[in-house]
């Protein structure tokens, strides 16, 4: 069997790596709560929650966060519905071309955003659609749908055939079977997808950077990057801003970490 020493050593290794994983996070938190070096050389230990309020105001984070929330809701909402519909068809029905179409959509997971946004930007500009929510949201919906379709198809394929047949015998059509039987049963799978798409959307940088230039369409990560360039004295407010931007996604993670890990482990590519 395993010796005590070996077990302790294992914990020590885990603890070491956990410490390394946490260090930058704690550093930001500590900086966010400290006094700005350039303003005063006071002790860094005095907690300074005022920094968060100052950063919020000076960095215009109210507006950035609002945009981020709207974008996240739209992307998550749209891609979830579209993915459930498509996954249902791919997972439970047989139709001509299903394999080819499915694998084509799957390729969408692999296409890096860089290969889409440049051309998409110029085409949308020609249509007068840049600098709109559509331009920020739809490319992300497309990418998330590629993943979501794959994910939901996997769920629907494993869903019990007996349940579906029982629903049919009760007279439920395919539409009702989907929404009243399969989706409620598949809540864990749907939650995982929602959580992952939320995280990707919240953290996305390149697409909103290119697609929107007006201030009220900038998302939180962009606002933070600009705040960094603009805020030239000290680091406390910058760290406070960084904390604010990371907070929503970290909170969701702490509550639903199983879904994050499961999704990343199984869903893989993005």
């Amino acid at each position: 069997m395993i010796s005590r020493g070996e077990r302790i050593a294992n914990y020590a290794v885990l603890a070491l790596f956990a410490a390394i994983a946490l260090f930058p996070v704690l550093l930001i938190l500590q900086t966010a709560l400290s006094n700005d070096a350039i303003v005063s050389d006071g002790p860094a230990s005095s907690f300074n929650f005022q920094n968060f309020a100052d950063a919020w105001d000076q960095g215009h984070f109210a507006s950035y966060m609002r945009t981020s929330v709207v974008v996240a809701i739209l992307v998550v909402g749209l891609s979830t519905v579209i993915s459930v519909l498509a996954g249902y068809a791919f997972g439970t029905m047989s139709f001509r071309g299903s394999e080819v179409i499915f694998y084509l959509i799957l390729l969408g997971i692999m296409v890096p955003a860089e290969a889409l946004v440049v051309a998409l930007y110029f085409d949308l500009r020609a249509l007068g659609l840049t600098n709109t929510l559509v331009a920020i949201v739809m490319p992300q919906v497309a990418q998330s749908t590629a993943f979501g379709t794959f994910w939901m198809r996997a769920y629907f394929r494993t869903s019990s055939r007996e349940v579906v047949e029982a629903a049919h015998i009760d007279g439920a059509g395919h539409w009702r079977t989907l929404w009243q039987v399969l989706v409620p049963m598949g809540r864990p799978a749907v939650t995982t997808m929602v959580v992952l798409v939320f995280m990707w959307t919240w953290n996305e940088f390149l697409i909103p950077l290119i697609m929107a230039t007006s201030e009220n369409l900038r998302t939180a990560p962009l606002g933070l990057a600009f705040f960094q360039g603009q805020y030239t004295s000290g680091t406390a407010l910058l760290a406070a801003g960084a904390t604010l931007v990371a907070l929503p996604v970290v909170v969701v993670y702490l509550f639903l970490q199983r879904h994050f890990i499961r999704g990343m482990v199984e869903g893989a590519v993005k």
């Binding site: 395993i2 077990r7 290794v13 885990l14 790596f17 994983a21 930058p24 996070v25 930001i28 579209i82 498509a86 068809a89 029905m93 047989s94 139709f95 299903s98 394999e99 179409i101 694998y103 959509i105 799957l106 969408g108 692999m110 890096p112 955003a113 860089e114 290969a115 889409l116 440049v118 051309a119 998409l120 110029f122 085409d123 590629a146 379709t149 794959f150 395919h174 995280m199 953290n203 390149l206 939180a220 990560p221 933070l224 960094q228 960084a242 904390t243 931007v245 990371a246 996604v249 970290v250 993670y253 702490l254 970490q257 199983r258 994050f260 890990i261 499961r262 482990v265 199984e266 893989a268």
Partner: protein, 311 residues
């Protein structure tokens, strides 16, 4: 730790259509209606832009005025201009830091640790996985601070008497790229460790016992039992981390803007820079197409390797 369920169909190990091994499903024409929104979104926002990208890459265009057909000249530039080629070389270096190091580290650690059944793994798993979740911009800001000339890293080095190693990490020609890479290592290692621990937890203990009876040492155990059993996880980990390395953008945009000189430029950064700052849309799209091709090839190759021996 919860055993990983449904490892049979992670996206990374998707198999080529090999007939319907699952249930056939009901033949329904209404399926086309169900997939219509997905197909529309995919067609409009992925397939069409991708085709346009390929088309743009054959033109010289500043993004504003008229364009002119140049054939494959942009691709020639991608492979011959030192700055553009350099971006891909840097991406290769980043792969070492983003993928090779975390995967190796994760494998070795998980292998040594999986011999003991540990309690309280849940907590460590949450913490180790955390770097995956935090927005890259925030990660970049944190690490920029760590690398400051008077930052924690140099403080630490001076504290332990290694003053000569202290340097302005992100401004140092030799160290800037590895410094960016180490952030990738930081992000990826926890993921790999979590993946492999999950994979190895499923290996039946009896296998090891049998091997030990045959007189196998730890190394043989690792090569003969552990490694083959986590082939799937290995493929997932490699795919995730290699693609993350190839697609690095936020980190470079926020941490170094490609400097010093052009030491930390990466393909994505060059795509943005060429398309939207330098007005070289053709070059940018050619770069993007090459990048896409590389991502495809890497994904396919890794998954071929991951698949082999799995069935």
């Amino acid at each position: 730790m919860t055993p990983v369920q449904q490892m049979a169909t992670p996206a990374a190990t998707v198999r080529t259509p090999s007939g319907r091994r699952g249930r056939p499903g009901e033949p329904r024409r209404v399926a086309y209606l169900y997939i219509l929104p997905a197909v529309a979104v995919f067609g409009l926002f992925i397939l069409y832009p991708l085709i346009r990208t390929a088309q743009f890459s054959l033109y010289e265009w500043d993004g504003l005025g008229a364009s002119s057909w140049v054939g494959l000249a942009n691709y020639q530039a991608v492979f011959s201009e030192p700055q553009l080629r350099g971006a891909f070389v840097h991406a290769l270096v980043l792969i070492v830091f983003y993928a090779v190091v975390p995967v190796t580290l994760g494998l070795l650690l998980a292998a040594t640790m999986s011999r003991a059944l540990l309690r309280g793994l849940g907590f460590f798993r949450v913490v180790l996985f955390l770097p995956q979740v935090i927005p890259m911009v925030v990660v970049a800001i944190a690490w920029r601070q760590i690398y400051e000339p008077e930052g924690p890293l140099n403080d630490l080095l001076r504290f332990v008497g290694l003053d000569s190693l202290a340097r302005p990490w992100l401004g140092d020609y030799a160290w800037a790229l590895p410094s960016v890479g180490i952030v990738g290592t930081w992000v990826g290692t926890g993921l790999c460790l979590v993946l492999f621990l999950a994979g190895m937890a499923r290996i039946p203990r009896e296998l090891y016992e049998a091997a030990r009876l045959d007189g196998a040492g730890p190394l043989r155990e690792f090569v003969a039992i552990t490694l083959p059993s986590v082939r799937g996880e290995l493929a997932v980990a490699l795919t995730l981390t290699v693609i993350a390395a190839l697609k690095t953008f936020d980190l470079v945009y926020v941490m170094t803007s490609g400097g010093p000189g052009t030491e930390t430029t990466v393909p994505s950064y060059q795509v943005y820079n060429n398309a939207f700052l330098l007005g070289r849309v053709g070059t940018a799209t050619a770069l993007a197409i090459v990048l896409t091709a590389v991502v495809f090839v890497v994904t396919v190759v890794i998954n071929r390797i991951g698949e082999r021996g799995q069935r």
